[in-house]
Symmetry: C2
Subunit: 421 residues, 2 copies
């Protein structure tokens, strides 16, 4: 069985590799035409797509999936329109491919620069949301890459219908449909093989829960662009505008509970703890947020429960917040270095040097001064779209847009130069 | 045994991680002072170093190592001066750390940019050349990283003596000596553990033969910055300046045989093969280069022997060249895509569109027009120094200098903004 599956995946990979060469040389106009045509076709085929999706949803219901799962899986006319206009927005973004940077003439006579080029073949592994099929394919196409999309088996009919729209878009622009392949296999073993195909796959982007990402990271033999979890901190410094700190710390925790850039731990300088923690706790408690604190925190907040060592490294993704009172900036930096997940951390302060030190010394993919951690997002950063957020240090950190799906190669423009030294 | 070794390496890794935080915030002045002081100390301690190196060389001789190995291992007053001035050159390079790029204001009011930051802890694994100890440590220090250096056991005394000079340099600048740790363990098992320490090591740079790099790639659980091999091509197009093509193709093969950027396969357009191959073959044969060709080549070059399928993907690192006659540019591109190692490839041509297509479509870390592949090198490209050449697609491609040892994190400068959407 596995051997037949390997052969099948190997064939898909090889086709992706061949298509990638054509994707890399495709004109911007052709790529944009394919994206806009796919958007039109998604709108035109809205009824088909809703029917296919209804099949998936019925199947998921019959298998007793929970409400949140059904919600992620369900498409509506509104979410189909969002997919279509998302593709059009990607068409509107500048094409990163082919840009040449820093071309300079060297003493030998050669001119050396760097050209931005696609990565090649990108495998995206995701769970129940069918809209990822259109979003991810659009970003890969615009950046000149071929993609292998492996969505959740529960969204199979929806994903195949979206794939047909994308293929029709590619055909209308005379681009090979193999640039976007939605894997027909729905078994988990397919993923395990896919992430080892070093010859055909250049990078794997897992989008989903921690379990999926950990499994893929452990099995992968190709590079993985990922964030495992977001244990995001906000540190309120001693010298701070209190109304601003209340507003931002509230937003960072409560604007949405389930996102990776939501604050999970609040650090507060001891000199300001007694003035800021009681009113802040009142804001949180009014919204039903459970507060877990160290001793100093619990003495200032009635109703806070003692935090355990485990709390400091926990991503709650829920209305729970851990709070610690720290003696100074260094203690806050130490806490973040020890317990953080290098995702997003913010300082709220009036103090110039503290802001500068925080920006420079916190080793996270996004570091903020006087802003809500919730801003860590490709759209908020102006990338136009994102394929995910990376907490890896190599290649791309933070929200990954079109540029993160490319790399730079060196180009040398010569006039017959030879090397002597 | 292995468990004791793990504990030891874990402790070294943890110290490197702690030092890395101080390295990241170190001032440019302090880093440069440490580099310049280390250079002075290397010169001052030249006699000690020659004595330590003589021990290593005597040991290697006694164990029957071959002449080339002894040559790589041997230090001379000249090579010690080269190490010292190398450190001074690194001090003269601009500091990449802390540079902020692309800061722009977003509609929400936040300002978003990217700050260049060190990768953290870099493990460098190399073989017999002791000068790598100084070169690699210097690059890691200047780029704000901590490094764990694991040189060949045969250079143990030399490496430890160089390490003492580097530590004295760090001390003179009040920087922690743990920024540069030369591993005391000389057993191979240490390397196998080191490359799995995901908690303490951010990237591994193996420098050495294919065997070393393959073994590390297979074992590593942290990202590896590497090039496996250089099967570099030169394609001579139909429309070309013949004296230029003779000069460049000769240089690409014969200037040095053992380097990764040496041409290993020559592709020649069929329309020019009969005019260029006989004089070119004469140049090569006069230098004792063995020529292996396809049928068309063998019919044009007396003395050429038939190439096998294996030849097309072989990195000879020797006075051997494989030659193939191709019908057109597309066939050349296909050959390179199929057999190349994505290192360095060049086209020699008068033809504008062919040059443009070659630049854009060849998926290698360096792509050249009318220049010798031998130019693929950090010094020739103006990086000032290089830690190696990467044929990986993510993060850094081609020669890797200071910038390749850093990454960019997002920074957000706010004024109390909160997210609403």
């Amino acid at each position: 069985m596995t051997s037949a599956l390997s052969t099948q995946l190997d064939a898909l990979g090889q086709r992706a590799r061949q298509a990638a060469r054509l994707g890399a040389r495709a004109s911007t106009a052709a790529k944009n035409q394919a994206l806009r045509a796919a958007a039109r076709i998604l709108r035109r085929d809205q009824e088909n797509l809703l029917t296919a999706n209804a099949q998936d949803v019925a199947h998921a219901r019959a298998h007793g999936q929970e409400a949140a799962f059904i919600e992620r899986l369900t498409l509506t006319p509104k979410s189909i329109e969002a997919m279509a206009s998302g593709l059009e927005q990607i068409a509107d973004l500048p094409d990163p491919v082919g840009a040449i940077n820093g071309l300079t003439r060297r003493p030998s006579g050669i001119e050396v620069g760097q050209m931005r080029v696609p990565l090649g073949v990108i495998a995206i592994i995701y769970e129940s949301r069918p809209n990822v099929t259109a979003d991810a394919a659009g970003l890969c196409l615009k950046s000149g890459n071929a993609c292998l999309l492996r969505g959740g088996s529960e969204a199979h009919h929806s994903n195949q219908t979206i794939a047909r729209a994308l293929h029709e878009g590619l055909e209308s622009a005379q681009l090979p449909t193999d640039l976007i392949q939605v894997l027909p296999m729905t078994d988990r073993a397919a993923v395990d093989i896919l992430v080892t195909l070093t010859q055909w796959v250049d990078v794997v982007v897992p989008r989903g829960g921690k379990g999926l990402i950990q499994r893929i990271s452990a099995l992968a033999r190709v590079p993985v662009l990922k964030h495992l979890h977001g244990v995001c901190h906000t540190y309120i410094d001693a010298d701070v505008d209190i109304p601003m700190a209340l507003r931002v710390a509230d937003n960072a925790k409560t604007q949405r509970y389930g996102t990776c850039n939501t604050m999970e731990t609040l650090l507060v300088h001891q000199d300001i703890a007694s003035s800021i923690l009681p009113p802040l706790a009142a804001l949180y408690q009014a919204k039903g947020v459970e507060l877990r604190g160290d001793e100093a925190t619990c003495s200032l907040i009635p109703g806070a429960i003692p935090a355990t060592e485990e709390d400091w490294s926990t991503e709650y993704l829920a209305p729970i917040l851990s709070i610690r009172v720290v003696p100074d900036l260094d203690a806050a930096l130490d806490h973040i270095a020890r317990y953080g997940s290098q995702h997003t951390d913010a300082i709220l302060t009036h103090h110039w040097e503290h802001a500068q030190r925080f920006l420079r010394e916190v080793d996270s993919s996004s570091v903020m001064v006087n802003a809500s951690t919730r801003f860590a997002d490709g759209f908020e950063y102006g990338l136009g779209a994102e394929i995910g957020i990376s907490t890896d240090k190599l290649h791309a950190r933070g929200p990954v847009g079109l540029e993160g799906l490319t790399s730079q190669k060196y180009i040398v423009l010569g006039h017959g130069e030879t090397r002597t030294g």
